[in-house]
């Protein structure tokens, strides 16, 4: 069923009796051409583009729980393409372009809102670094704009411009950045994939991989063995656990990242803003809650909850930037599990096992990458060659010294 304004009108006049389920709930077939492990944003996007752009048939998505129940349902919904390095920026700009046409493409309202993102500058050194990043973005075809203190004061007069330690000196803006209704991204991709014949199989956990002679034959699941010619794993957060079934150790650690929502407030922040002197970023949801976050907790974790010291640290960042939020109450906090890779950048690559492909290591930037990640992974699965914007996301980059380290932190996953 195609969604449109006319459809709403027709259903309104006929008692809303014509709506059907957004996707089927099929039984798993004995074998498929392609199995995507992980029914989150990246897995569903992969299945969608595999079916739509690469015209591949007999595709299944296997999901341990329910669709979109992992990180795509637990993030702070920001999209942007403000990266510095050659290995990253073209990929994230490709992703932002896909976001811009996504709702028309998959016929679903994902509430893509290009409300702009502003990275605040607090020191002269930071101004140099951000100017360089802005120039890099422009050279790669993205948009970037340097804003003066006065321009920012007009946008957000309530910021603490003259904080003794962290005065605001300017900002780097990307006006095409913004926010998206995160769950709707998973639902839109799921529905679009299902309409093109992809089997979305929920409550189906992969418990093993059948590998013979260096080639994958299929996966063992909680619902029995399912054969496949090619298996793509997109389970960020649990990558090490799933790839251990293939005997692989990965260049990553799993960490917990917390996010926060305040009580509903009157309209206050119309874009996305980041504090440059600490780790704090904030936007305001359509319901009025401030959605914000900061650092990961910093120790290996598979618990989808964090500890209080990070909550305090994030709140301090918020207070330094806009002291009046001290009066707002925190409504909810939650945690999600991140693949923190050794250089802070993702991997979309073949493995040494024929027919087994991997997509992960998104650190805490996976949401904005969802469309391009799905597209590039589908490209790799269908053609066996990396998409031109994802050629640097290889397993062997650590062995070859070709790390993509935006922050220059080295192999310390908890600092990226």
């Amino acid at each position: 069923m195609r969604y449109s304004g006319w459809r709403i009108l027709k259903e309104a006049l006929t008692g809303h009796k014509g709506w059907t389920a957004a996707w089927r709930d099929p039984e798993p077939q004995p074998a498929y051409d392609y199995i995507i492990v992980g029914g989150g944003g990246h897995g569903l996007a992969t299945a969608y583009y595999l079916a739509k752009e690469f015209k591949q048939a007999r595709i299944a998505v296997l999901e341990k729980g329910y669709l979109g129940g992992g990180n795509v349902g637990r993030n702070t919904t920001i999209i942007r393409s403000n990266y510095l390095l050659d290995g990253n920026e073209p990929f994230y700009e490709f992703s932002l372009k896909l976001w811009e046409g996504l709702e028309q493409d998959f016929n679903y309202n994902a509430m893509v809102s290009q409300r702009g993102i502003l990275n605040l500058i607090h020191t002269d050194g930071q101004r140099d670094a951000f100017t360089r990043r802005g120039n890099s973005m422009i050279l790669h075809g993205a948009d970037a704009e340097y804003l003066t203190r006065d321009q920012i004061r007009q946008m957000y007069p309530f910021l603490n411009f003259d904080n003794a330690r962290f005065p605001i000196k300017g900002g780097l803006a990307q006006r095409r950045g913004g926010t998206v209704r995160h769950d709707a991204v998973a639902w839109g991709y799921a529905r679009g994939a299902d309409m093109r014949g992809v089997d979305l199989i929920q409550n189906c956990e992969v418990t093993g991989m059948r590998i013979e002679g260096g080639r994958i034959l299929g996966v063992e699941t909680s619902r029995g063995f399912i054969g496949a010619k090619k298996v793509g794993v997109a389970v960020a957060g649990s990558s090490s656990r799933v790839m251990a079934h293939a005997g692989m150790r990965l260049p990553m650690e799993s960490h917990v990242l917390q996010a926060f929502v305040s009580e509903g407030l009157k309209p206050l922040i119309d874009g996305v803003m980041t504090f440059g002197a600490g780790h704090f970023y904030v936007s305001q949801s359509d319901k009025g809650g401030l959605v914000f976050g900061g650092d990961i907790d910093g120790y290996n974790s598979y618990a989808q909850r964090g500890n209080l010291p990070v909550i305090e640290d994030v709140a301090e960042g918020g207070m330094a930037l806009m002291p009046m939020i001290g009066r707002a109450r925190l409504l909810r906090t939650w945690g999600g599990i991140m693949d923190m890779s050794m250089d802070g950048s993702p991997i979309i690559d073949k493995t040494h096992i024929d027919g087994l492909y991997f997509n992960g290591g998104w650190c805490y930037g996976g949401f904005k990458a969802t469309p391009a990640s799905g597209w590039c992974f589908a490209h790799l699965l269908a053609t066996d060659t990396p998409h031109k914007t994802a050629t640097a996301y290889r397993f062997d980059r650590f062995l070859k010294g070709l790390m993509i380290d935006e922050k220059g932190q080295g192999n310390t996953p908890n600092l990226h």
Binding site: R249, L250, P251, E253, S254, Y299, N300, A303, T412
Partner: protein, 94 residues
Amino acid sequence: MIINHPLLGPRDAQEFVYLGDAALMNRPDGLTASLQEMHDYAYLRDNPAGLHRELWYHEQGDRSWLVVTRNTVTHEITAVELARDVARAQGRSK
């Protein structure tokens, strides 16, 4: 989280800096190790869901390195040893 320091008793985890898997104590000899061995040591991790032995540094305290056994699914800490003792038990730095 509270880390029960073998010398100082229960201390808040905020006093510590986290490094990672305790296997990082076993660095291959840089003069004889192969490139692949050094790569595996520096970049690959077991990253288990469950019991994890890991290095914590008591930076805001006595600056000792500890090997903490912690469950990554529940955050429960079940054992804390001085990294020095662990290394000596392996026959290093007699």
